[in-house]
């Protein structure tokens, strides 16, 4: 599904990593770990097509993809550090806005049931401003469930989530892999995925 050959990342004059190779098959996942500042976020942003690698190449379904390539944008669901919410909009408005931005259709009942699933049903008409960080992160989980994207790239997805939230995330990722999706996660949190499906990539070793 997603292959990476001899990838290298720089920030300014500093070389972050080099010679990174891995392949994420359908139904497989790569968990990226490593101390802070070793370029986990930079690597994930490259995979999502947000930034260009200093060297090496990224292939999606066998074809080389450049940053912001249309096929990459259509295939990837990216969740970065920031939950991408507008404080002035309510939880439901934020969710429908993000889903429609990703080309999906956002019917009111689909929104409501998605929010119910992440235990935000009663708070759907509250402006995002008043929601806690965990609740804002759950809106991101609801978005992931609604987007039918084959490749998930999640950067520290567990931040601010409580135990129930992490369980929810683990279920989402598990189902995604079951459906033949691929995932790259930067997290130190064990998500209880079958070891047979998971590769671990340690940066800065």
């Amino acid at each position: 599904m997603l292959e990476v050959h001899d990838l290298a990342g720089r920030r300014g004059h500093a070389d972050l990593f080099a010679g990174v190779d891995f392949r994420v098959p359908a139904g497989g996942a790569v968990v990226v770990t490593g101390p802070n500042g070793t370029g986990k976020t930079t690597l994930l942003r490259m995979l999502a097509g947000l930034s260009a690698p200093a060297a090496g190449e990224i292939r999606l379904k066998g074809h080389k993809v450049a940053p912001f390539a249309p096929e990459l944008r259509a295939a990837v669901a990216y969740a970065g550090h920031l939950p991408a919410l507008k404080d002035e909009l309510t939880a439901e408005e934020n969710l429908s806005s993000l889903v429609r931005l990703a080309g999906g259709t956002a019917g009111p009942d689909a929104m409501r049931s998605a929010l119910d699933r992440v235990a935000l049903g009663r708070r759907r008409s509250l402006p995002a401003r008043v929601l806690s960080a965990g609740q804002r992160r759950r809106i991101g989980l609801a978005r992931l469930a609604l987007l039918e994207r084959p490749v998930w790239i999640l950067d520290e997805p567990v931040t601010a989530l409580d135990a129930a939230g992490i369980g929810l995330l683990a279920t989402l990722v598990h189902d995604h892999l079951d459906r033949g999706g691929a995932a790259v996660l930067a997290t130190h949190q064990a998500l209880g995925l079958e070891p047979s499906r998971v590769q671990s990539l340690v940066l800065g070793g």
Binding site: L82, A84, L85, G103, L147, E148, P150, L168
Partner: protein, 247 residues
């Protein structure tokens, strides 16, 4: 795991999702314009403040010079146009900076909709909330400068054609200076004001030409040509600048 079993779309849905890359530039433009307008209307106070800035700047010139009728009439159009430039400049950070700060700009850049269309939609929303009100308010402020009806008509026509160009060019500057120190303020002004000069010259000049009996059609048509050129070119430059800023 305590989470409820989530509904999971069948694998076939993946190909469909990928296939359905929305080529709809129009859909992207509509999404961005509608969202930004809703956000702007949610913080109406901020819009009011920016319009008041325009009004205050226009009122400063008579105070700083003379209330004398003829002088005010000659410099009226220029003052109103410079104030329109500054009002547009001050509201440009709203275009991308907040989205950049809360992470939505990444999602916008990664959307299947073309980024150029999304940027154009944001610029449309920006113009509707700054350029248009400035143009509609101009006749009222023109009273302070004893402008006759004919001049006011040409002034408003010029503003209606010119302010969209200010938003379009400003979008490129706003995207280039995303996330930089002093990005929204003086650096943006330094980058963009030189590019505003032709709009200022033809806009303010239209009223002078009309008053001199030469007629303003030449100036207004040049503004129209400028608008067409800006509409075609700047979304691509601004989209490229956004991608560069996100890198």
């Amino acid at each position: 795991m305590s989470g409820m079993a989530l509904r999971s779309p069948a694998p076939a849905a993946f190909e469909a999702a990928a296939g359905r890359t929305a080529d709809g530039a129009l859909a992207g433009l509509r999404w961005a314009a509608a969202r930004d307008l809703r956000l702007a209307l949610r913080s109406r106070a901020e819009l009011g403040v920016q319009l008041l800035f325009y009004v205050i700047v226009v009122a400063l010139f008579p105070l700083s010079m003379t209330p004398e009728r003829n002088l005010l009439a000659t410099m009226g159009p220029g003052v109103l146009w410079v104030a329109a430039l500054l009002a547009s400049l001050l509201s440009l950070p709203r275009l991308f900076a907040t989205d950049h700060a809360d992470g939505t700009l990444e999602q916008i850049a990664l959307s299947p909709y073309p980024l150029e269309a999304l940027v154009a939609g944001k610029v449309l929303a920006h113009w509707l909330t700054t350029g248009l009100p400035v143009a509609l308010l101009a006749p009222l402020l023109a009273l302070q400068y004893y402008l006759d009806a004919g001049s006011v008509a040409v002034l408003v026509a010029g503003l209606l054609l010119g302010t969209p160009i200010l938003s379009l060019l400003g979008a490129v500057g706003a995207a280039l200076t995303l996330g930089l120190r002093g990005g929204g303020g003086s650096l943006l002004a330094l980058l963009i004001l030189p590019l505003y000069v032709p709009v200022l010259i033809f806009g303010a000049g239209a009223v002078d030409a009309a008053r001199a009996g030469l007629g303003a059609t030449a100036n207004l048509s040049l503004l129209g040509a400028g608008l067409a050129l800006a509409l075609v070119g700047t979304p691509f430059a601004a989209a490229a600048a956004v991608r560069i800023a996100l890198d």
